[in-house]
Each structure stands twice: as C-alpha cells, then as structure tokens.
C-alpha cells in the first residue's frame, strides 16, 4: 500500500482493530459523518451507528462516558476535534482516566484511546492551533503518541487501541493529506520505541509529529554543507525511548530537540534534562531547544509562519550550534 495518505492509513488502522475486536468503538462530535478532517469517513458504513457514535458537544462527558465504558468492558476511542477542546475534558482525562488503575490498586484498567488533532496551520487562531502534548506527558498514567508518518499512524493507532492504559494519540492536521511515499510497510506495532529516520554523525536532532518533516529537510540542506545530522523520530512521548537518544548523543556529542509546541515547559526541556543527567560527559555543546515562542498561536498568516519552526530556521540554528566551543561559549 505505497503512497498512502496519513488520514487513510490512520482510518485503516482503526478499521482493522474494529474488525478484530468488537469491543472497540469510536465516539465524538460528527464522527459518524467523518469528523472534521475525514479520519472516520466511511467507518459508519462498515460498523454502523452502534459503534461509530455521534455525540453532543459535551467534551467532559464524552470523555467520562468513554472512561466509564472502558472500566465496564469496552475499548472506546474518543475523538476530540481540536486538542484545544480537551481543556473542557481535562477532569475526566487527568483525574479519572489517568488514575483509576492506580487508585483502585490495579483492580481496574482503562483501555481507551483519546485521538486529538493539533498544530498551527491554516490560520485557525489561538483556540484551534495549540500543541499541548507536554500537558499529557506530565500526568502519570497517560501514554502519549505522536506519529510523523502515515506508516506510523497506522502502526501506532493499532498499538494504542490494543494497549490497556489510556493513550492520547496526537495527530497533526498538517500531516493528514500528505502523501507518504513509503506507504504502509509491515513493521512493529509497539509504543515506546523511537526510530532513527536518518543516520548522521555531527548532531542528533530529535523530533516527532509534523516537525519531523521540517527536521528531515533541514538535515538534507545541511548535508549539502557537509554537516551530518542524525534525525530521530520519537513517535512515542510516554513512554519515552530515551535510550535511543542517549546512544545517538554518545556518537554525535550534540543534541537538538525540535517541536511545534511552545519551548517553555515543552518536551524539549524534559529530553534536555534527561540527557544532561545521563550523558553530560558526551555533550560538546548545550542542548538546543527549537519550538514556538512563548505566545498563543497567532491567526495572521505572517505571524503564524513565524510561530512555527521551519526547515530554514532549524538548519540555521543547527549550523550555528556546530560553531560552539566550550572555551568560548556560543
């Protein structure tokens, strides 16, 4: 299945799991008519309205109904149309889904997937463009996954649905309709395993979701200048495959982390901290964090473009990083 779009690969992964397990169902606003971006388009034809369920505009209770259904024998998938709307459901997500297994002393499990769509693209403005993955990664009991390719969307949604813990599955709307030349390949379907997408020897560049594309393009540009960048796709934010990152840093001695989320308090800070704890002696320069500035996402086209890190910006900052020397500072 070469040359598949992300949205189709994702839908196919959901459909495969719904075929394999009658307990799997999907709930959300307009999911029976395909959802806002067509991820669930056509699923109702195969699985019916009993398993592809339109809900009222009640995020907190959509989430709560899914948590309750999960502890009572179902394996629900919840679609939150824009990640920004999950703020309305954080009580059920953070205080209930994430904690029921722990608080019950292991009596109960919450096998559910929370699909969210995020990213600053298309001028949707401050309430429809945030990247909130650091929130989810901060809450013990929630797993968080953010695929950057169609093949991984398919693999990881299947692994997420099969997982017995709540998994926040983060989709970027800038990826949905892009054709993935690699298409679907048989591959491992597990959470918590990073993927070295491009091998290199001068700098380790860690990313995930749509920013992975910009990173790969920046690495290509830098290769033309004789700089060899190793690009790692984390894929899974919780659990985090820090070992793969450390192993790469031991080889390259330089680390940059790029994501679309605001830099302050972002995943980049966590990765930087862990690497300095575990591999300080291997670092030849401070860990570089690349991400959005500390501002709500802007709607104006020019501002929005400046808000999201891009290929040229990433390449320039990596280039500058190479000139850092411990003696002189940057």
């Amino acid at each position: 299945m070469a040359n598949l779009r992300f949205v189709d690969a994702l839908r196919e992964g959901i459909a495969e799991e719904m075929r394999a397990d009658p307990r799997v169902m999907i709930l959300g606003e307009d999911v029976a008519v395909g959802g806002a971006f067509g991820v669930t388009r056509g699923l109702v034809d195969e699985f019916g309205h009993g398993r592809v369920i339109n809900t009222p505009i009640s995020e907190d209770t959509i989430m709560g109904i899914a948590v309750g259904a999960a502890v009572a024998g179902k394996r629900p998938i919840v679609e939150i149309m824009f990640v920004d709307f999950i703020t309305l459901a954080m009580n059920q997500l953070v205080n209930h889904a994430a904690k029921v297994h722990f608080m019950s002393g292991g009596q109960l499990a919450v096998p559910m997937v929370i699909r969210v769509q995020q990213g600053a693209q298309g001028g949707w403005g401050s309430q429809h463009s945030q990247s909130l993955e650091a929130w989810f990664a901060h809450v013990p009991g929630l797993k968080a996954v953010a695929p950057g390719s169609a093949a991984d969307a398919n693999r990881l949604i299947r692994a997420s649905i099969r997982d017995d813990s709540p998994v926040v599955f983060i989709e970027h709307r800038g990826l949905y309709f892009r054709h993935d030349p690699d298409g679907l390949e048989p591959g491992e379907s597990v959470l918590g395993k990073a993927h070295i997408v491009r091998e290199g020897s001068d700098i380790t560049l860690v990313s995930y979701s749509r920013m992975l594309t910009e990173c790969l393009e920046a690495a290509e540009d830098l290769a033309g200048k004789g700089i060899s960048v190793e690009v790692i796709d984390l894929r899974s934010l919780v659990p985090l495959d820090i070992d793969t990152v450390i192993e790469s840093v031991r080889k390259t001695n330089r680390l940059a982390v790029a994501h679309e989320a605001v830099v302050q308090g972002g995943l980049g800070a966590e990765i930087a901290a862990r690497v300095q704890e575990m591999a300080m002696d291997y670092l030849d320069a401070p860990v570089l964090r690349i991400g959005a500035p500390y501002t709500p996402p802007p709607a104006s086209p020019k501002l929005e473009r400046a808000f999201v890190p891009d290929r040229a910006g990433i390449a320039a900052r990596l280039h500058r990083m190479l000139s850092y020397s411990k003696e002189e500072g940057s």
Binding site: M25, G50, T55, P56, S58, D60, T61, M63, G64, I65, A66, V67, G68, A69, A70, V71, A72, G73, K74, N91, Q92, N95, H96, V100, H101, F102, M103, S104, G105, G106, Q107, L108, A109, V110, P111, P140, G141, K143, D164, S165
Partner: protein
C-alpha cells in the same frame, strides 16, 4: 409504596447493614481523632444517611454497577463491602480493597461492581453514564447506579451527563442524596441552598425528559421500594431516572470535621432520645434513619428491643474487629510506590 411489603427478614438484614455502616464510621472517626497519622486529611462519613445507601443497594443484583463520591464508605458497605478492607483502605493498608492506593476518598471494589469512587464533585456521573452505555451496547440487563450529593448539580458535568443519558436512554439511576433538608422537607419543601437557582432539584432533570422522584432518604422502606421498582424499569429499558433522596444532616457532620457528639451511638438514645446530648435529641427523634427503623420495627411487633440490640452488638463487634484488622495490617512498601501506573 412497595417498601411496606418488605419481609421482616429483609428488614432485619437492612437494619444490620445500616448499623454496620454506623459502627464502622464511628471507628473511622475514632481512628482519625485518636491517631495523628492515620487519616491525615479531610474525610467524610455516612452517619445519618444509612437508609438511603442501604435501601438503594437492596435493589441491585450482583452484576450491577455502582459509582460514588468522597462520602463513599457507607455506600461500599451498603453494597456488601466488608468493614475490614474498607477501614484498612481508609488508613492506607495493603489489605484495603485498593491495596492502600485509594484512601478515604477512593474506596473501589471491582468484585462488588463499585467501579469508581471520585472525590471530584460530579466526576462520577459521566463515568456512571459510561458504564450504562457499555451495558446498553452489550445488551445485558444490568443497571448503573450513581450516588452523589446535591452540590453535583452545580457542576457542568452533571448537566452534560444528564442530557446524554436521556438522549441515549441509558440504564442509569442517578441518586442525588440531599443531606441539607430539614425533617419536614424530607417529604415536601424546598432546597435550602444559596448556591443553586432551582427551587426543586428534580425540576432540573425533568427539563431533560428524565423521570424524577423525590424520596424520604431517612426511610429505608421507602428508598428500597422506589429503587426496586426503578431498577426493574431500568432493566426493561425505561431509564434513566433521577431521584432526590432527602435527609437531614447528622449534627456530628455540621462542623468542618465529623464529631461523635456524646461518644458512639447508644441504643438508649434510640429508645429515648431525651437521654442523649441536647444537640442530638431532635435529630434522633425525627431524622436518624437507624433509630426510626428500630423504633418502628419494635412498635410494629416485628422485632423486640432485645433482638434489635443483638444486631447492634453484632455490628459493634464486627466494626471493632475491622478496626483491629486494619491497624494490624501492613502499609505498602516504598518499593511498590511505582506499581499500578500503567495497566
């Protein structure tokens, strides 16, 4: 109401459960006040509300689900929970139902169908609707029952869950325990709150086309009768239902922490409220569900005072043994601190 048809044996067993809750809660208060380090934060007891929980749980079968709140100890025992693992859980021991991970706010017992106990006001209503949704999808005749306090109606989650459970006709029974009502208001009267605009709580559910009932939560026969009928109708696909169970607050619950006014309950107070502390007399006369049931059973000739006191002695002993069991149980080891993060 069908409640008057309950057999003497059924009423004796209801009285036993109610007294067991009372005695277990007294032990909880004593543990909290006698030790500095057993129950360190706030805790909530179910004294004075026993008839509501026991009467409601009498309508449930073994496969039904139950959800509750921060005031859960009594609900879990009403559902058939044993005082030993309940008290052990409250003081954080490995022998507690949740292996010490829940504490007073979160006693959960999967084997009893108690699937979540949430200390977030209103937090359990959407989850209980979710369990009802699972029942409906699986096509079984189970019921999902959720207990909550009147403050839940101030939360948005309640209104969303009310709408969705009505829209989807879920097998859900919403049992709102309003413990702010004066004795006469348990049967008629108004909601005396400065923080909720509706005069009648049940009107809110009516607006969403949910059938509503108001019941005297101090009368176990009334509660059991109503809930048995509604559980039956829920199994037949007629749910959801909303019930306002009205009761009068136990005077020991009026302060910020529970207080055993005059010490543990004495059966003499039941037979002659005038022998109790002045602060308790009116409540014992008009509102204490345990005393009301004891006196009516004796007046009706269904039980003698001696038989009632035998039940009381048995539940006292059971609660004392539960306390000892809990106190002699181990706390979780620090090495197990990271258990149960992920399933």
């Amino acid at each position: 109401m069908a409640g008057s048809e309950l057999s003497v044996d059924t009423l004796k067993s209801a009285l036993h459960r109610m007294m067991l809750i009372r005695r277990a809660e007294e032990q909880v208060i004593d543990l909290a006040t006698s030790f500095d380090d057993l129950i360190r934060g706030h805790y909530h007891v179910y004294i004075g509300q026993e008839a509501s929980g026991v009467g409601a749980c009498m309508a449930l079968g073994p496969d039904d689900y139950m959800f509750t709140t921060h005031r859960n100890h009594g609900h879990v025992i009403a559902r058939g929970g044993e005082p030993s693992p309940v008290i052990a859980e409250i003081i954080g021991r490995t022998t507690g139902y949740n292996k010490g991970r829940g504490g007073t706010f979160h006693v959960i017992a999967k084997h009893l169908g108690v699937l979540q106990t949430s200390a977030i006001v209103g937090g359990c209503v959407p989850m209980a609707a979710g369990a009802a949704f699972s029942i409906k999808k699986r096509g079984t005749d189970q019921v999902s029952l959720v207990f909550f306090g009147d403050g839940v109606l101030e939360e948005g989650a309640f209104h969303e869950a009310l709408n969705m459970s009505s829209l989807w006709k879920l097998p859900l029974i919403m049992m709102c325990e309003n413990n702010s009502v004066l004795p006469e208001g348990r049967r008629q009267g108004e909601y005396p709150s400065s923080s909720f605009a509706a005069t009648q709580l049940a009107d809110v559910a009516k607006a969403m086309n949910v059938e509503t009932h108001v019941v005297d939560g101090g009368d176990v026969r009334e509660v059991a009768g109503l809930l048995t009928e509604l559980a039956h109708r829920t199994r037949a696909g007629e749910g959801p239902f909303f019930i306002e169970s009205r009761m009068t607050r136990w005077p020991g619950n009026r302060g910020s922490f529970p207080e055993l006014i005059g010490g543990p309950h004495q059966m003499d107070w039941t037979w002659d409220p005038g022998t109790a502390d002045a602060r308790l007399q009116d409540w014992l006369t008009n509102s204490d569900p345990v005393s009301l049931l004891c006196r009516s059973l004796v007046e009706e000739g269904a039980m003698t005072r001696e038989e009632v006191e035998e039940i009381d002695a048995a539940t006292r002993k059971e609660a004392e043994e539960a306390r000892e069991f809990a106190l002699s149980s181990p706390t979780p080891s620090p090495e197990s601190a990271m258990d149960y993060i992920f399933a």
